[in-house]
């Protein structure tokens, strides 16, 4: 039990080992447990673990995308074809929801949001990587981006007075005006609830997946320990089972976040611009 537990603890570490359930170790936590743990670089990486993974993804995807689209061929290579397929499908999907003009306008934001979340979610199943979306700070940051972007769109499309009118429920008769004291704070609360619900939903789901994977890793190591070879630092790879769940849920959660952001944008667009 003691050896098994030790393996489990080394492999399934958590930055919040004092506070919560274990997560699968990533390269930063491995460094933080190595003899280099007291170096300033490792300390910095460990302290800024989630932003580091986010930036890592930004850099990797940035390089891949820049390289992939550098030579825009009329007869595309396989990789360019793959990128075009993603872009076209997302474009068609958004245009279906927002109309052609708005779909094209908001595609860069919504599309990037989807892929950022999706790739972050998928990092949870890549060895030595981590889903930074399992941190509430990351999901709150994304939700705040959407919140402020939606407010910006609402104000630029409707004007300040138009947006206030929208928040007041667009009163046009006496009864509607009487409802304004109720509708206005309700709309404000509704707007403020959007980033909270967006961020909590994503955070909870991704954290749950990561914890599940971590638990399965621990379980695999524990089961391997029962075979009598507990000295070997390895476990049964039974975390493959929640991997499939993580892929599905990670994709669904990215899609939900992106779709809800699209709907929030759609709701603040002037009526004549809504499809």
């Amino acid at each position: 039990m003691s050896v098994t537990t030790e393996h489990a603890e080394t492999t399934a570490h958590s930055e919040a080992e004092e506070t919560g359930p274990p997560e699968v170790a990533n390269f930063i936590t491995v460094l933080a447990r190595s003899p280099l743990k007291d170096t300033p670089v490792v300390k910095f990486l460990h302290h800024w673990e989630n932003p580091v993974f986010s930036w890592l993804i930004v850099v990797i995807i940035g390089v891949v995308v820049i390289r992939g689209t550098r030579r825009r061929l009329m007869i595309p290579s396989r990789f360019q074809n793959f990128l075009e397929l993603l872009v076209e499908k997302f474009h068609d999907f958004l245009c279906g929801m927002l109309g052609k003009e708005n779909g094209r306008r908001f595609l860069p934001y919504i599309g990037s949001l989807f892929f950022f979340i999706l790739i972050n979610n998928m990092c949870g199943i890549i060895p030595f990587m981590k889903s930074s979306t399992a941190s509430y700070r990351t999901t709150l940051a994304l939700a705040l981006c959407t919140f402020f972007y939606v407010q910006y769109i609402a104000i630029t499309k409707r004007g300040v007075l138009g947006y206030l009118d929208h928040l007041a429920g667009e009163p046009r008769d006496v009864i509607a005006w009487c409802m304004v004291p109720l509708m206005f704070p309700m709309h404000i609360v509704q707007e403020l609830a959007k980033p909270v619900s967006l961020s909590l939903r994503l955070f909870g789901n991704v954290l749950g997946e990561d914890i599940l994977i971590g638990a399965f890793v621990v379980l695999g190591i524990a089961l391997f320990g029962l075979t009598g070879f507990e000295a070997i630092p390895i476990g049964f790879p039974i975390q493959i089972l929640p991997f499939f769940l993580a892929v599905i849920l990670g994709t669904v959660q990215a899609a939900v976040f992106a779709i809800l952001s699209t709907i929030y944008i759609l709701l603040v667009l002037p009526h004549e611009e809504q499809p």
Partner: protein, 173 residues
């Protein structure tokens, strides 16, 4: 309330959380910028260009197809007309040939007739001439015979006229 907010913000943990959130926001905005600049914009533009190119190619192919169909129709019509034309040319040639043959035959016939007429005229002229000569000879011989019979010289001019009128009477009968 403001005091409590400032107190909360000055808490190192809150401060750190805000710093991380801002860093994540910046990371995401950089991600959006990169994708907007290098993926969405470029690829959508490329897709549009390709769509337009394919569309124009299809239009061009359609126009060419229509042109080829028109040309094919035109050639078929011409092929059909070629048979008719060839038949017409042959017919014309045959007609020309017949006409020329007719002309040649007519000319030959006319020439033959002219030659015959001329020969006839020559014959007639020769006959007339011979007859005249014969008449002169007969008159002359008759005068000579008569002079020998009567042993007297006759008046040549008067007797020549008598003999000539006699011969004319015989010819008429």
């Amino acid at each position: 309330m403001l005091q409590s907010l400032l107190t909360t913000l000055s808490d190192p943990k809150v401060h750190e959380a805000i710093a991380q959130i801002v860093t994540q926001i910046i990371a995401f905005l950089v991600f959006v910028w990169i994708l907007k600049k290098f993926a969405w914009g470029r690829l959508l533009q490329l897709l549009d260009e390709r769509k337009e190119k394919i569309s124009s190619e299809f239009d061009r192919i359609k126009a060419l197809e229509e042109k080829f169909i028109a040309l094919e129709h035109d050639y078929n019509e011409k092929l059909k007309n070629i048979d008719v034309e060839a038949r017409r040319i042959i017919q014309d040639a045959i007609a020309d040939g017949r006409r020329m043959a007719q002309q040649i035959a007519d000319k030959a016939r006319q020439d033959a007739r002219q030659i015959t007429d001329k020969a006839q005229q020559n014959i007639e002229m020769e006959v007339t001439k011979a007859r005249l000569q014969l008449k002169q000879d007969i008159i002359k011989m008759t005068l000579l015979a008569t002079e020998k019979i009567i042993k007297e010289r006759l008046d040549e001019a008067k007797h020549r006229q008598l003999i000539s009128s006699f011969i004319d009477t015989i010819e008429k009968n």
